[in-house]
Assembly symmetry: C2
Homo-oligomer: 229 residues x 2
């Protein structure tokens, strides 16, 4: 039974990668840079996006794809920023999918004006396990980890931390009120993803938002440069 299960999962991941490549081809045709933003529930993905998009990003036209099990709380917040937002709910037919896969993202693309966007941020479902297993055609992956979650998160969810190009360490304004050992967290982080780029941020105070915006701009810049080669 275990063997069967593994085969089914591998088949599902093959299919996912095929569709992710199709997404990637569409993104390339529109010269669209795509960031897959992931975290545990409540770590601050939406708040950090609100902060990043509160002012124009160096002439970049940004769009957002919001993944949630149910509801449109986050996309309603982001729509206030006057960027195109598509909401993708994962709940039909089951208690809810715990991640976005390439096919779900593909099904949502017609809802976005791709020719008018330079940078698409996909906010994944809040979860530190399965989202890391499904590529959706993105250029880069960023994750948010809140200091309220404890130091050992990198060791407990290594695939997520390992699969990202940027780790946003959020709610840093709460450090004084927590028993959180930042050095130990960084030590664990370097164990699973040595030297990965990391930013100390606070969506509440705005700390670290400038380099976070620069990182997003850098993803779009590298995408543009690659298109010229």
């Amino acid at each position: 039974m275990h063997r069967t299960k593994v085969r089914v999962v591998e088949h599902a991941l093959d299919a996912n990668n095929t569709i992710a490549r199709a997404n990637r081809a569409d993104f390339d045709r529109h010269q669209l840079a795509v960031v897959n933003l992931m975290s545990a529930p409540g770590a601050g993905k939406t708040s950090l996006l609100e902060r990043a998009l509160a002012a124009p990003l160096d002439g970049l036209r940004v769009g957002v794809l919001e993944g949630d099990v149910q509801g449109s709380y986050d996309s309603d917040r982001l729509a206030a920023l006057h960027v195109p937002v598509a909401q993708l709910n994962t709940d039909p037919g089951f208690g809810g999918e715990c991640h976005l896969d390439a096919n779900m993202v593909r099904s949502a693309l017609p809802a976005l004006p791709l020719p008018d966007i330079d940078l698409l941020v996909i906010e994944n479902v809040g979860n530190l396990v399965c989202p890391a297993e499904f590529r959706v055609g993105e250029d880069a992956r960023a994750m948010v980890c809140s200091v309220t979650e404890g130091e050992d998160e990198p060791m407990k969810y290594p695939l997520m931390f390992r699969s990202c190009e940027l780790v946003l360490i959020n709610k840093i304004d709460l450090l004084a009120h927590l028993d959180f050992d930042l050095d130990r967290f960084l030590h664990y982080l370097d164990q699973v993803n040595p030297g990965v780029e990391r930013l100390l941020v606070s969506a509440r105070t705005g700390q670290g938002v400038a380099p976070w915006r620069e990182w997003l701009q850098g993803v779009a810049q590298r995408n543009r440069e690659a298109a010229l080669l």
Copy 2:
């Protein structure tokens, strides 16, 4: 493709429920009360368990089943309390399962001295979606939601909040440092699970630990009474 997917999932849930009933029969034979403890990553399941089990629970013999994708950080912490702990890792064969199902729990039962336990607490994988979809044979479900996660968690992950008999609202000591509207959270909670038992707790200060311990004792007490009928 969508129809196929739904059928596969329903079949998986049927199989899960069959095995959950077998688990339940084993638990009943040993007069064992079982609590399924769930939350997002880093919400404080392990810390609240440490608090609850720091002193004997009214003569109850407690055991713990620790579910993690990888590692034994949490079970190492709990073993210091001198209760039997079995570690269940979900990572073999895939990037890691994001939840415990009835068959995983069943596979771990031989590692626990069931005849010598009155109350088994199963600490699920940190995730607010899939753990709610898989019953494992438990008597009761409790979940932890940290106030750092934001007010709208019940609306975004309704199945999880709806499927629990107890909601532990943790990290209440941080309220003064957050923009968290407790009344709004409770309003959302009552929308998805009207009147569900809830406790304001802090694993850090110990606030609310006494009623949390009483709730665990109540689950075991009701299980004993049911066995006498």
